[in-house]
Amino acid sequence: MREAIRRVLIVGAGHSGGAHALALRELGFVGSITLVGHEAHAPYERPSLSKGILQGEERPLPLAEPWRWAEAFDLRLSTLATAIDRVAREVTLCDGRRLPYDALVLATGGRPRSLSVPCAAAVHRLSTLDEARELRGRMVGARSVIVIGGGVIGLEVAASLRAAGLSTTVLEAGPRLLGRNVPPDAAEWIAALHAQEGVAIRTGVAIRAVEGDEGGVTVRLEGGEVLEADLAVLGIGILPRTELAEAAGLPCRDGVLVDAGYASIDDPHVFAIGDVASREGVGRQETWFHAGGSARAAARALLGLPPEPADVPWFWSDQFGRTLRVAGAPMTADTVVPRGAAFSLHLRYGRIVGAAGLDSPRDFAIARRLIAAEARLDAGRAAEPGTDLRKAVAA
């Protein structure tokens, strides 16, 4: 038996940190749970920052009703953790206070990546509620926007601002949109959707500098072309916030390295979850699903409970009223089976390893189950949209 854990300290009160605290209580943990969060807001879900909040919604979904934090947790907002002492098992806060722990859970997420070329401070980023509200405020009266980055968040921002009537241009450095995590066919559906809605999309763009201020922004491209807009938003991915872990000597490689139970591979008293965690052999995931799933898996491991069967990784993205969903590892497929105009099954050696679809949520739910079962598919039947996907499993 491991020694009793009485005090859990969670650094980072975002989606994963909040979900972890709730999961510990749900699993019956009665010790103290302290959450230290840099933001001024109680834990909330981030997806609406690039969608609902920019389209006029007041607030994002909270992880729990506000009164629950006061009742069962010690939640310290607007507080930055600045150092970990793994020998004394203490964390230092920005006000100099030290908090002891039996188990430390790092849920620090990521920070937006910066351009490698000069970039004016007036360019918006979108990782927190305050930043989303600031952008929302600046949209009033603005007529045009340049979005730098054609990944999911960049495209969601482009869709939200286009829907609000702004003339919208997306600049992507890579050869196509969504190159990191969406298969080429699905990226095409999204490109067509944006074209239809009047978003100008440019791929293979090299930026030399971004200049400007609150009054307007100028983007200078390699080759001399100059683009201007009232607003600019940067969304070129995130870097995991590993500084605390690295300074404390915890092994990190694109994230804090953790085992299947999200414990540090070097220290059983330290866990890492959400965007900052890098699981051995799996890597990092930046999804809503993983934020909650890793939080619950770590809670079970921390309490010595057996793991639950792992679910297939997936994410969604809402743009122009449509929902793109991607599951599994479609980019490892050798064969793509289209099923109708905007759904596809991704096979490797005849077994389904991934799926992508615009809308079609029920087919997607079935596909997730087939991926988990590593089912062998009859490609001919799977390609018929009228056939129940469950009946496309090969004998």
């Binding site: 979900a19 619950r296 129940d388």
Partner: protein
Amino acid sequence: MESQGWENQAGTWRRVVDAAEILEDEPLAVEADGRKIALYRVDGDVHATDNVCTHAYALLSDGLLEGCQIECPLHNARFDVRTGRALSSPAERDLRTYPVRVVDGGVEILLPG
């Protein structure tokens, strides 16, 4: 709330659809008195719940029904369609259910008030 015991409840029975239209495996969306309601067929019986998930906003009739469990199409919360009970995160609140009866081949649900 089970479909038995409806005799004691106040409200109005509304015919919403022909029973033959509700297939196993395929939840059906209907509207009655301005409420969005989902109908499900499980082992022959018809059940009715609110159609809007209790987590954020999604229609459960777009989700996958497996046995008596409906999975929300947006974030995969699962509910028992017979009791409305929330079975998995991220849903924390149960779904409202409505008593159902089949009269002359038509599905009727009991709406409050």
